[in-house]
């Protein structure tokens, strides 16, 4: 496979995953904002920005920190590189560059996701926002399905590699958000708003029901952290993503005969993730731990580029 094509497929995987993540984040935040007995308001939207590391970028636009403005920024701001719109445009751009490697179905899904924005960006009340978010999730799911039905060759392996690397980053950032968010004055840890925030995190990774299955006690922060960090059963956990990175790299090693630094880093990381004990992490500092996960993941990303001569 051409190195350029490999790079495009890898980035295609990353951008689709990121678009999907931001769509889920907006959806969860919207629910938190609208549905909780006490509207979480500004704090909820501030946290959504914190997760994506875009508080500064948002403030630079001069817009007020309201639901509508933040939703517009995260979903459809053409000047914000991290908006869903831009992620999908990038995904489509990469997909076009490797048009031949994708099945028609996979291409149609990416193109469809991008076309969503052609039609619906005019007004963003909660209903319309949810509709766009749903449409995006539908199309990314369609893409996921189409990739599953493609030949299990290097093409899909690079897409999966990109997805798993992106997912590790997203989930670590999502957990880290609790570090950024101070509870509003008068609220106590374990109070309604605190619970809502943890629920939002679970919703973002579609894990509300999974949580109930795996933990018999009620909602406990330590358990949410445990689930998202160490439980490989949950597809979006750091553990599952780290495992998938190893799997994708193994498959690529087999099919391309190329193996190296990235494989070693991914395997070592996975070995550490499996041994992680949530209690120890919390005792030593969750934020510190998550920052390390994000940094290691960035190093792995660079190693992948070197190994496959992305240039």
């Amino acid at each position: 496979m051409l190195s350029r094509a490999a790079a495009s497929l890898y980035w295609l995987g990353r951008y689709v995953e990121r678009a999907d993540f931001i769509a889920r984040l907006v959806e969860a935040t919207l629910r938190l904002d609208v549905l909780s007995p006490r509207p979480a308001g500004e704090a909820a939207w501030r946290s959504a920005l914190a997760v994506t590391d875009t508080l500064d970028a948002f403030e630079a636009t001069g817009a007020a920190l309201t639901r509508e403005e933040v939703a517009r920024f995260l979903i459809g701001d053409p000047s914000h590189p991290g908006s869903i719109l831009r992620c999908l445009a990038q995904a489509r751009d990469n997909a076009r560059a490797v048009r031949t490697a994708l099945s028609r179905e996979a291409w149609a899904a990416i193109n469809g996701a991008w076309l969503v924005f052609d039609r619906r960006m005019s007004r963003l009340d909660p209903d319309a926002t949810l509709a766009v978010v749903d449409a995006v999730k539908n199309e990314t799911r369609g893409f996921e399905g189409a990739v599953h039905r493609m030949l299990r060759n290097q093409t899909t392996q690079f897409i999966r590699l990109g997805q798993s690397v992106e997912r590790t980053d997203d989930t670590a950032r999502l957990l880290d958000v609790k570090y950024h968010i101070l509870l509003p004055e008068g609220e106590i840890v374990g109070g309604i708003v605190d619970r809502d925030q943890w629920t939002t995190i679970l919703q973002t990774v579609s894990a509300v029901t999974a949580y109930r299955w795996l933990y018999s006690e009620g909602l406990r922060p330590a358990n949410v952290i445990d689930l998202l960090l160490t439980r490989a059963e949950l597809p979006r956990s750091v553990a599952a993503s780290a495992e998938e990175t190893v799997t994708a790299l193994n498959a690529l090693a087999k099919s391309s005969g190329t193996q190296g630094e990235a494989d070693r880093m991914a395997r070592n990381r996975y070995a550490r993730v499996v041994k992680t004990r949530t209690g120890d992490v919390i005792a030593a500092g969750l934020h510190q731990h998550l920052q390390t996960v994000i940094e290691e993941n960035a190093q792995l990303h660079l190693a992948i580029g070197r190994q496959f001569k992305f240039g």
Partner: protein, 492 residues
């Protein structure tokens, strides 16, 4: 309007009713409500949009991606019409090849005074860098698109030869795909020659000119300028349907006169390149030192005989508009016979007599830039405004050698679905001709372009043109024997 045109389905303007062989198509048009036609047409266009079959219009930033409008009413060639047309096409393409071999070799045609020397040697499309190089198997114009217009049942004229990187073949294939899906009943009425083997034919052509000896499987690639190019869809479509890599210049590297592509597992040798980039951007060491684009050393590898390039660099000299007017002489010189497909009468404005005539008849002529394409830099006299005509007059006087002029032809029409219903619109036609080491083949089909605006003669997609499927009927005539209700007197 006002031009009395031959309609390819309904026959001559003076006639009464459809051409007998095509009555079935007429009945189909009568029996299918316009709404239903429109629904199918929209379904086809939706598919094209979903697949991303788009083209970019240069100079328009907002609408950077559009689909070319598709018309649901096919144009049809009868088997015997097609047979005659094919003969003419083969003769023409053989002459183009012989001309290129000669011009970059012995130059007999210049020595014998058939063409003025400065016309070739002073032409920007002539590439002295290429002279002396012999491409594998002496094939230069592997893939040709010959643009034709029609004015009567047996009157076809060549409007333009495209021997560089003709595009449009993906529309031929996708349009057919759409027609089979949306109008299957037409394929029951007519025996239409299949076009879907085109990718196999093209790959066969590529392999046949590989510089490697037989027995070894050559590595073939399609070279694209990249996914911002207006024809990118076609490039990827062709690479995909041939099952070969689609590369950009940056993916290729030349080492010791051998071309390699960069892959995740290292370098892989490349033997045959179907390039869809212009000569100027092939090799910065040879053609344009100011260009960062291209593959440094590619032409050296080509000259060393280590790689085949389709179409050959330097081909522009064969399809240049200034050369076009000499094509009848060129065909005669190499084939020994008269051109079976005539040219459109052409005034070379470089010649004072011709220029004088053109300036006096600007309102009746079509004036074209010799080095223009896509319908840009073109004057259609009968429909042009006074200001436009005056602008061209000034340009003609200033640089006459840059222009040719042709009479405005009554281009044939084909019924076309427009807002008011089905109505005749002018068409042209681009068949595709492949030349490998084993000879010349005409693909039974092609790209029909249609001017959607009433009375318009400009079919270019960048100027509001659309496309149609082009049926080539197989021997046995227009209809299958099972057509109910057809006249017995037609002999089936």
């Amino acid at each position: 309007m006002g031009i009395q045109a031959f309609d390819e389905i309904m026959g001559p303007a003076s006639g009464d009713g459809a051409r007998p062989e095509l009555r079935a198509l007429c009945h189909w048009l009568d029996d299918t409500p316009a709404d239903e036609l429109r629904r199918r047409q929209e379904a086809a266009e939706t598919t094209f949009r979903q697949l991303g079959i788009t083209f970019a219009v240069y100079g328009e930033s907002d609408a950077s991606e559009r689909i070319i409008p598709f018309d649901i009413v096919p144009r049809v060639f009868l088997a015997d019409e097609w047979a005659r047309l094919s003969e003419g096409l083969v003769q023409r393409v053989e002459a183009i090849n012989a001309f290129l071999v000669d011009i970059y070799g012995e130059r007999r045609i210049l020595k014998e005074g058939v063409l003025p020397e400065d016309l070739i040697l002073g032409n920007a499309q002539f590439r002295p860098e290429i002279a002396g190089i012999r491409p594998p198997h002496d094939v230069w114009a592997h893939i040709c698109g010959i643009d034709l217009v029609r004015t009567g049942p047996d009157s076809f004229f060549v409007l333009e030869d495209n021997a560089r990187t003709p595009s449009g073949v993906s529309y031929m294939l996708e349009n057919r795909e759409a027609m089979v899906r949306l109008c299957p009943e037409l394929f029951a009425k007519f025996r239409v020659a299949a076009v879907d083997s085109y990718p196999d034919m093209l790959l066969e052509t590529m392999k046949s000119v590989s510089p490697r000896g037989c027995g070894q499987a050559p590595t073939c690639v399609v070279l694209t300028p990249g996914h911002y190019n207006s024809a990118y869809y076609e490039h990827s479509f062709l690479a995909d349907s041939m099952g070969i890599e689609l590369v950009e210049a940056a993916d290729l590297i030349v080492d010791d006169d051998v071309v390699y592509m960069r892959t995740i597992a290292g370098r892989v040798k490349v033997d045959v390149i179907y390039r869809r980039v212009d000569d100027d951007f092939l090799d910065p060491l040879v053609f344009r030192a100011d260009s960062m684009l291209g593959v440094p050393g590619l032409i050296a590898a080509y000259a060393a005989g280590n790689v085949a390039i389709l179409n050959a660099p330097g081909n522009g000299i064969a399809d240049d508009k200034a050369i076009y007017s000499y094509m009848p002489e060129i065909v005669r010189f190499y084939s020994g016979g008269e051109a079976k497909l005539p040219n459109v009468e052409t005034y070379r404005c470089r010649e004072p007599q011709a220029l004088k005539y053109v300036l006096e008849h600007l309102d009746q002529l079509v004036v074209k830039l010799v080095d223009g394409s896509g319908g840009y830099g073109m004057l259609v006299g009968p429909t042009a405004s006074k200001a436009e005509i005056e602008r061209f007059r000034a340009a003609l006087v200033a640089t006459p050698e840059r222009y040719i002029a042709q009479p405005t032809l009554a281009l044939s029409t084909v019924p076309t679905l427009v807002e008011q219903g089905v109505s005749p619109r002018h068409v042209d036609f681009r068949p595709f001709v492949l030349t490998g080491s084993k000879g010349v083949k005409v693909v039974p089909g092609g790209l029909t372009r249609v001017a959607l605006r009433e009375g318009s003669l400009v079919v270019n997609s960048s100027q509001g043109g659309g496309t149609k499927d082009s049926f080539v009927l197989m021997d046995g005539g227009g209809m299958t024997q099972t057509m109910p209700g057809m006249s017995q007197s037609m002999g089936f």
